[in-house]
């Protein structure tokens, strides 16, 4: 009789009396991939740690929970028994490869540790195996990779090294916990393809944990959708995606299809442009003597018309956030010109209050952008006071601004920690719109949010723009989101704008090789789904 590689029956995890995972059951066969999908805090990582026997000490498994590896019961609280299995029968790769590799040991040393776990080997055969593994995960120049430290590798290379480590013993089960979330889109596509190839070669069962529906659809034969610790929907991947039954899965699926159907670009209004940037360059200052300054931006020219949305698309390190800071006057350029509504600000000593009022910026991390010691009301009152706009009507103004982002007056007296990430970002948007700006700079404002929340925020923003008519500079790395919200797109790569044009044109007929590479990295579309009703999301 053959058993599935991994079986979970009624997995139940509680931390300090609070139940994190409730009655989760599934099974994965040899050579098969099961994707566990859910938002942050849905209990998916805890499930993985329970299987590995790495739960934090204050976590407790339910009495009825049964975990089986190849038909043999696992005892996650027996450290010695679990340790014998880890690194041999099952292994795991984590989300952020930079911090998950030891900074103090060479890559070769860390993989060698895993090889030693797989079975005693003499020096030469260990060295051979090391090179073999590095070649297996398709890293270039193995002899030099062996000697390097993790910080000398790129994010994608680090994750490959993690994979080499995890696969040293050719495990029966590989758990991949958000292995590509911290990586750029092009790198993400490479790693997903590599995972598939490796599985075909080794034949391991894979538990793939992700928040990204498209990545799950690309990789998995089975899907389990988790919400608040419960599996709300599970089954064969094709069936779940084509006929999502649960409301939450439907929202996830429809988010994707809404993004696919981008709205028509707004009619460009004539008149004075909101932003005009020409030949902008910025050098990050150096801290060491004789080192050359780091040129983060070089020869950037662009223009945003009144009421228009320009998307700035780029991967990490492309200079897109630097550009956002320069345009909002938070940094001074090394050379070049910036003008806001016709007023040059590049070399002005101060930016006058009226200009500040007309241009507002929203940042990526809503946790950091709100002072934890101020209530929502006082946080929103601050810009009014600074811009000398406060008066008798301030209270109503703030209440109205909150209502615009679908938050009731009951939020006025709450503190940021009492709000969810999406609510916090909505407060930030409301605060930015208080002064009725004519230009809104959005620096990766939805990147820290869960997929369904992202869509809510984007829809809301688009609606506000339609009624108020402000121009937007929308900085992002997600090609679908940037396309959906923008009229025009500028693609950035290594501090330069490589291509600029109409949003639709750039995606359908890219001219530059880099843009083509970005588009090629997009995951294949989901099977056609009938739900495209936007109201279900908002």
């Amino acid at each position: 009789m053959t058993h599935p590689v991994l079986e979970l029956h009624d997995l139940d995890i509680a931390i300090a009396g609070r139940r994190i995972v409730l009655d989760l059951s599934f099974a994965i066969d040899k050579g098969e991939t099961l994707a566990l999908i859910g938002e942050s805090g849905s209990g998916k990582s805890m499930t993985a740690l329970a299987i590995m026997g790495l739960l934090p000490p204050n976590a407790q498994l339910g009495a009825r929970s049964r975990l089986l590896l190849d038909g043999v019961p696992l005892r996650p609280d027996d450290e010695t028994a679990m340790r014998a299995l880890r690194g041999r029968r099952m292994s795991m790769v984590f989300q952020d490869p930079m911090s998950c590799l030891s900074p103090f040991m060479t890559v070769g040393g860390q993989i060698a540790e895993a090889i030693d776990r797989a079975g005693a080997a003499d020096r030469t055969s260990r060295r051979e195996r090391l090179i073999e593994l590095i070649e297996l995960v398709e890293l270039p120049d193995p002899p030099s990779i062996v000697r390097r430290f993790p910080h000398e590798l790129s994010g994608g290379q680090q994750q490959r090294a993690m994979l080499a480590m995890a696969l040293a013993a050719e495990p029966r089960l590989l758990i991949a916990d958000e292995p590509t979330s911290a990586l750029d889109a092009t790198v993400q596509a490479e790693i997903l393809a590599l995972l598939k190839r490796l599985q075909a070669r080794i034949g391991n069962a894979m538990l793939f944990i992700t928040h990204d529906l498209a990545a799950a659809a690309d990789l998995a034969q089975q899907l389990v959708v988790m919400r608040a610790g419960e599996a709300v929907e599970q089954g064969a991947a094709g069936a779940v995606l084509a006929h999502p039954k649960h409301d939450y899965t439907r929202r996830l699926v429809s988010t994707r299809s809404i993004l696919r159907a981008a709205p028509a670009p707004a009619a460009v209004t004539r008149g004075q442009p909101a932003v005009e940037v020409s030949q902008l360059a910025y050098d990050y200052p150096v801290r060491r003597l004789f080192a050359r300054p780091w040129r983060a931006l070089d020869g950037v020219s662009l223009r945003i018309g009144a009421g228009e949305t320009l998307g700035i698309l780029g991967e990490s390190g492309s200079g897109k956030s630097t550009l956002a800071k320069l345009v909002s006057g938070l940094l001074r350029p090394t050379s070049g010109e910036i003008s806001l509504f016709g007023a040059p600000i590049a070399h002005a000593r101060t930016i006058d209050r009226d200009l500040r009022r007309r241009c507002q910026i929203i940042f990526q991390n809503p946790y950091g952008a709100l002072n934890p010691r101020l209530t929502i009301e006082s946080a929103m009152r601050e810009p009014l006071e600074l811009l000398r706009l406060s008066g008798s009507g301030s209270a109503e103004k703030i209440e109205r601004a909150l209502a615009d982002v679908n938050l009731g007056p009951e939020y006025l007296h709450r503190y940021p920690h009492q709000l969810s990430g999406g609510q916090r970002q909505r407060v930030c948007i409301a605060r930015a719109l208080l002064s009725e700006p004519e230009l809104l700079i959005c620096d990766e404002i939805v990147s820290a949010l869960d997929a369904t929340v992202q869509m809510q925020v984007l829809l809301m923003l688009k609606e506000l723009q339609a009624t108020r008519g402000f121009a937007m500079m929308f900085v992002g790395h997600d090609i679908e989101i940037v396309r959906w919200i923008s009229d025009r797109i500028a693609v950035m790569h290594r501090g330069r704008i490589v291509e600029q044009g109409d949003a639709a044109a750039i995606l359908t007929a890219p001219r530059e090789p880099y843009t083509r590479k970005l588009i090629a990295a997009m995951l294949p579309p989901l099977p056609d789904v009938t739900i495209t009703d936007a109201t279900q999301v908002a």
Binding site: L54, R86, M92, S99, C100, F104, E113, H151
Partner: protein, 302 residues
Amino acid sequence: MARVLSVLGTLLRGLVQCACIVMLTFLLCRVMPGDVVDVLGLEGGLTAEQQAQMRHDLGLDQPLAVQFGDWVTHAVAGDFGRSIRFDRPVMDMLATAVPVTLRLTVLSFAFGLTLALVLALAATARPSRLFDVLIDGVNIWSIAVPTFCAGVIAILVFSIWLGWLPVIGGLLAPVLIIGLDNAGQIVKQLREELKEAVTLPHVRTARAKGLSPWRVSVFHVMPATMGVVLALSGLVLGSLVAGSLTMEVLFALPGLGSLTLNAIHGRDYPVILAAVTLISVSLVLINTTMDVLHRLVDPRLA
């Protein structure tokens, strides 16, 4: 190459610091009211003429800059002159004093660091009330009780009440007292650092690989705490070299501390200068060593 350059840079910075310290000491020696001739004059009843002659012989009537230049040229060649009071080469005096101080410092530091490491590691591996109380106890002791107080108590208890000799002149009591003080300065932070280190993502990776607890702690947890251990060790060692002064006087150890103190009392410039130079050079050496060690442990710094 970058690594070698950055180490050289650290050394260079240290040497500049040394030069400044030596210059400042030289100046401070001279602005103190009364010089060596005054002291000898009072003791030996010299006439004003004899005193002037003596100042001339010693070169004390020369401009300060010339005196300093003279001293530096000789010091670089390893000649720190002769003690004015004892009429012995300063080099000889240092040669007898330094080994005493070195033994005291090395032994106390080794004892302190070992105690701190053992306590902190034990508390991390087997969290218990007992270890927490011990760690807090040692920490509070080192903050609240100055070493000279502990020294006086030790003499009172061991040599006067219990009659265990030799406490004076022996190394055991001062080593225990200074070592305990050092341990208190290190142990608390080390414990906190370890508590944090065991939750680091790369330590979780090491556990997910199925490595033995011993291997996880030595190769994955310990390196993460080395930054703090080295930084604190540098501070503690620095204060040891300076702080040996009181302990040596209290326990009548003929080390660098006693030598310096006597020299200051007697306005014995050559000895003061030589001792201060030696102490500042050793401080710079300690800091540089810690810096280099840190760079070796953590390749990201190089």
